[in-house]
Amino acid sequence: MSGFTALYRKELTDHFSGVRVFLIFCLMFIVTAMSLNGAIGNLSDAIADSKEYVFLKLFTTSGDSIYSFTTFLGFFGPIIGIALGFDAVNNEKSQGTLIRIASQPIYRDAIINAKFLAGCTVIFVLTFVLGGFETGVGIIKTGLRPGPEEFGRIFIYLLFSAVYCCVWLAMSVFFSVICKHAATAAISGISIWLFLTMFMSLAAQGIANAIFPLTGWGAYYNQYKNYSLQIGLNRISPYYLYSEAVSIIMDPSSRSVGLVTESQYSGAVVSYLSIGQSVLLIWPHLVAMFAIAVVLFAIAYVCFMKQEIRA
């Protein structure tokens, strides 16, 4: 255990004293400040039709020429994860330090565990610092006061964001185990991120339309199945899963994920969901996100343990 602690401490020191994490922090602070500025500028429009949960709108409203904070985090989260993990193991190998550590009296898994957990720690610190920054500056700039429920929603949102980043961290650690060069690992991670973020929806649409065509005689009957399949495929992508969950937790007026039929909707009372109900709605998303992170790390772990360590 002492080996793990020593390694974990060293990894954390490396992260927090390194240029990389410093740059990520700077980038994210700039992005947060800009998106907050944009959100404040457009806030009056955003709350024109509802005057409740205004504070959450600071996170979700986009400015005139800038995305909202939630969109940014959804976009940059993977970059943070990939940046923190892509050279975790292969760099140790090329440096010749891996074999030296491995020949110390520690279990081999302590190495990869320490690396992953140190990365996770940085991610959690980063997301919560950014969230706190956004909240704090938002309070000062607008004079709005978040209620307890809004706090709760922001907290869950940040937690979920951190887990989302950890998914990408786990993936990039996996690539750092199987790729010999850090550059290869980084490119692999980024290409998967690009595919899942940009092209997954196109792919999902294409597949759904091929299986349940929306033209010809069956079009009407296929509509529901087509949509369900499309959404199911889209949810493979952590980005989609994340965006969907964020839209629910940060907007109490959205009441469902996916399709609602007219019959289900009739007689519904127009009101906000309580935080408990919102969480209930995105609980599967949370669990799935957590599971993806765990599974990806498990694969990386197994690969690492089976790998031969040579100088």
């Binding site: 020593a6 490396d14 390194g18 440096q95 010749g96 330090t97 520690i106 031969e308 100088a311």
Partner: protein, 355 residues
Amino acid sequence: MSETIIQTFGLTKDYGEVKAVDTLDLTIQRGEIFGLLGPNGAGKTTTTLMLLGLTDPTSGHAVIEGHDCTKDPLDVKKIVGYLPDNVGFYPDMTGRQNLIFTGQMNSLDKETCESRSKELLERVGMTYAADRKAGTYSRGMRQRLGIADVLMKDPEIIIMDEPTLGIDPEGMRELTKLIRDLAVKDGRTILLSSHQLYQVQEICDRVGIFVEGKLIACGRIDELGRQLQSEGLFLMDLQVEQNSDPLVKLLSAKEGVTKVTKNDNGSLHIESTRDLRKEMISFLMMNNYTLLDMHQRGGDLEEIYRRYFEKAGEEIDAAGKNSEAGSAGNDGRGKGTKQTWRERRANRRKNNPGV
């Protein structure tokens, strides 16, 4: 003194078709310096990795001080220090920090880490660069820091992989002395692998010669030399003032001589089945040659190494095709002593495309 500390039983490692280590039975006593000799890719590193439990053997097992290296690697790694070939350090940490980090991984407390790292940096002569980033170190400095790093855990056994590679002559002398001190003064057991014969000869008490995963000879260097002689192999180098070309033919015809080759510097290398020194002088005098230099060889490791290599090569070849074994001796082609058995084999293959 003769207490077994490392022992392997039929240790084997396959990489697919290739046997990196083939049923190795090795015994190392406490306090001795053992040299594993062999060309690149002979399986030396694989053997050391199996001893540390970093690689699982395909079959067989190894025991260090009663701990099984595969099942109980943690206890093994507590008492064994490993200096890998081309050791690496964290470039952003200073030499001292790197050592302290190793100490922490060995569960040493803070004071011990600091005092021991200071002491060891002095011992390896690295105090002057202790607070520089390890990324700026030269190879020789890394090697020295590597030795300090190994000693951080105060190991009973030290395994070194090619410790002398890439070190200048001055550094080499210090290193040799340091390694001897580690064994003699501190009473540690040292297992080092190398393909640099001269250093091994200087440092090691016993050597094992490794070819293609097999340990083909093992023992004290003088023992190995005697063993060769007892098998009827005497080696001699001699130099004459005159043109030695006609002498090659003359000597080849002499009774007892099995092989005569010309070395690069013009001297002749003679292999014979008995000690020819006395006869040789009168023989040369009779034939009007002026003897400049003559000495018996066999005691030095290079010769032993080369002979064992050739033997191993012949055995491997003989296993492949028996009829080839006979021509091995006459196929030196005057290339001198530097020719390895691999080259010989390649030559033979070229000349006999049927093989």
